[in-house]
């Protein structure tokens, strides 16, 4: 079956020209300035920027000295600098987070990866309802306002599509870390604990499974085992301090920290309690892991520990001398306890520095100082989580699962630095 998570129609933004993906271009073209200026339309400063095109360069080529020009006034809703270009890489049914261009552990909401099964619906929040029914004492509908009145929780958590890195099962398919690992993002999420919401409807003791259903055109639905979900599941209405983005489930989504992304149903409109799994398409035909013996693993919810070096990474250019190797590590089973880095393809390993905060089921940033001597190098990272689980080599992972399971690929990732400083995705 075609692995649609990996289907791509666009090429990634080309980061190879700059030394670092987030460096602004050294010389801005007239077109770039005009594009930037267009987003400032309506402000007098825009005219100043345009008129400065003909002025003699002072601060740097193509840029007027900003201390000579009054800036623009405050705005109701902010935008990033017109010079910043980090963007999701969008295909037909998903878009990928540009991990190579980000810093720290949080993903800006506008760059959170997307995966949907028949588009992003438009939902008016005042008309949205959540229905809780099935094995409950009283079938109940909630408005968004009522859900927001219930006791709330906020927490940081990653969401990773179980198809993230799925292209890597067979070949080194992705060129950049955005292509290989971009179905992974981290946000602060706010909502009401599922357990509290279910208490309002009076869940019956015989309820063991919950069908969660979205109000998208795919009516995405997954069966959730209640005993495992109740400790941490949130019904979320906010992301990074504001309402959920439409592509993240506005106005309401399920959050199951550490579980495969698909189970975190977006545009949530219905929770039905039952005594057995409902066996929807997306827990039978899809999101099941085919093994070499022909059996398939079902309800593989947890995302195992995984790490990747985001800089330097595929498509970037390494310069001789000091290089800070940076990356992210995460585990769906708890906290990251350590990350090791190798620059010689796994022959030797040294401990990387973890940045605070180190939170359970959340991205953890790591860094490792390195001096590149201009020789060929193979960069790898390997994480361990609080259960003692160690991120496996590709060889060990494939020995158990073969190469046809599509989902849950979490092997150690290798970036080859060639003598010209180019960085390439390779399998070892």
């Amino acid at each position: 079956m075609a692995h649609d998570e990996q289907a791509r129609t666009d090429r990634p933004p080309d980061d190879s020209a700059a030394g670092s993906p987030d460096d602004p271009p050294a010389v801005l073209s007239r077109r770039a300035l005009l594009t930037g200026a267009a987003s400032l339309a309506g402000f007098t400063a825009a005219q100043s920027v345009l008129s400065s095109l003909n002025a003699a360069p002072i601060a740097s080529p193509g840029q007027e000295d900003p201390t000579l020009i009054p800036g623009r006034p405050p705005t109701p809703y902010g935008q990033r600098s017109a010079f910043e270009r980090a963007a999701r890489l969008a295909g037909a049914t998903s878009s990928l987070t540009p991990l190579q261009a980000l810093h720290g552990i949080l993903t800006p909401s506008a760059l959170h990866f997307e995966r949907h099964h028949n588009g992003v619906p438009v939902i008016e929040p005042t008309r949205h309802r959540l229905l809780v029914h099935g094995l409950v004492e009283q079938p109940t509908t909630f408005t968004l306002e009522e859900i927001k009145r219930l006791p709330s929780r906020s927490r940081l958590a990653f969401i990773e599509c179980s198809g993230n890195s799925g292209g890597e099962w067979q070949t080194p398919a992705g060129r950049t870390v955005q292509e290989t690992h971009g179905l992974f993002s981290t946000s602060e999420w706010t909502g009401v604990p599922l357990a509290l919401l279910l208490r309002e409807a009076g869940a019956k003791p015989e309820a063991t499974w919950m069908l969660a259903e979205g109000s998208d055109a795919g009516a995405m639905a997954r069966s959730i085992p209640l005993a495992r979900a109740l400790d941490e599941a949130l019904i979320c209405y906010a992301q990074n301090g504001e309402a959920l983005r439409p592509e993240q489930g506005y106005p309401l989504r399920l959050l199951l920290p550490g579980w495969e992304g698909n189970a975190n149903i977006k545009w949530l409109r219905r929770l039905k309690l039952g005594a057995a799994p409902f066996m929807t398409r997306d827990e039978t035909a899809h999101y099941t892991d085919l093994m070499p013996d022909g059996t398939a693993r079902q309800f593989t919810f947890d995302m195992d520990a995984k790490s990747v070096i985001t800089s330097p990474s595929g498509g970037q250019q390494v310069r001789a001398g000091f290089v800070e190797i940076r990356g992210l590590a995460w585990s769906g089973r708890g906290r990251i306890t350590g990350v090791d880095v190798s620059t010689d393809g796994g022959r030797t390993w040294r401990q990387a520095q973890l940045d605070d905060p180190v939170l359970p089921k959340c991205a953890t940033a790591f860094r490792f100082p390195w001096r590149w001597d201009g020789q060929e190098a193979m960069l790898q990272s390997r994480c361990t989580d609080e259960t003692g689980y160690v991120q496996p080599t590709r060889q060990a992972l494939v020995a158990v699962r073969g190469i046809n399971s599509s989902y849950h690929y979490n092997a150690i990732h290798s970036w080859l630095v060639t003598m010209d400083g180019a960085v390439r995705n390779v399998h070892v």
């Binding site: 309802r129 509908t141 279910l198 400790d231 398409r281 079902q298 309800f299 699962r401």
Partner: protein
């Protein structure tokens, strides 16, 4: 690998008291807060459209593969191909006995464990450009056509709320519970 049914094992692992226990969050009220209102029968009926493997949720109506052929050709073939094998949308037909090979072909016939899931999915999400536009009879007929093309039922077998749950899918016992952690650390 030992073949056990995932559903059976999961149900065994879960315990009825879990809900009550986990709901005791520290620092919270132990009683309902009285938010939300009782859902009406009409509200539940409008959205309660899932179909379980036992057939619960299947509506009245019926259809055969013969009736489904014309519908499939008109409403499904443009994405799935005229025989349900050409794509570009997921392949629906064939692939049996390929799952344990180097080139597994996952289709309704080779992979899906329950025929009821086919009804559920077509009803909730197909046709892709006009979801929920088919009548119950049409969903039964298209379901029957896909099952018949896979050699699972005959062309004149009537699919309805009684017969569909009794269709035995070839890969019914092909699913196993999650055994992870499964990769030894050297």
């Amino acid at each position: 690998m030992c073949k056990r049914t995932a559903a059976g094992l999961w149900t065994g692992l879960l315990f009825a008291g879990a809900l009550a226990g986990a709901a005791d969050l520290p620092g919270e009220e132990k009683e309902p807060l009285g938010l939300g209102r009782q859902a009406t029968e009409a509200e539940i009926r409008a959205w309660d459209r899932d179909v379980s493997p036992t057939g619960e949720g299947l509506p009245a109506g019926k259809g055969t593969a013969q009736e489904g052929a014309r519908l499939f050709s008109a409403k499904c073939a443009s994405c799935h191909g005229v025989t349900g094998t050409e794509g570009p949308a997921p392949r629906l037909v064939g692939g049996q006995h390929t799952l344990a090979t180097k080139h597994p072909v996952k289709t309704v016939g080779s992979y899906w464990p329950y025929a009821t899931t086919l009804y559920d999915y077509i009803r909730r999400a197909m046709p892709f450009t006009a979801p929920q536009s088919l009548t119950p009879d049409e969903v039964y007929a298209v379901t029957a056509w896909i099952l018949a093309r896979n050699g699972i039922i005959t062309d004149n077998a009537v699919m309805d709320a009684q017969t569909l749950p009794n269709v035995r899918m070839p890969n019914r016992d092909g699913f196993v519970p999650d055994p992870r952690p499964d990769v030894p650390h050297r």
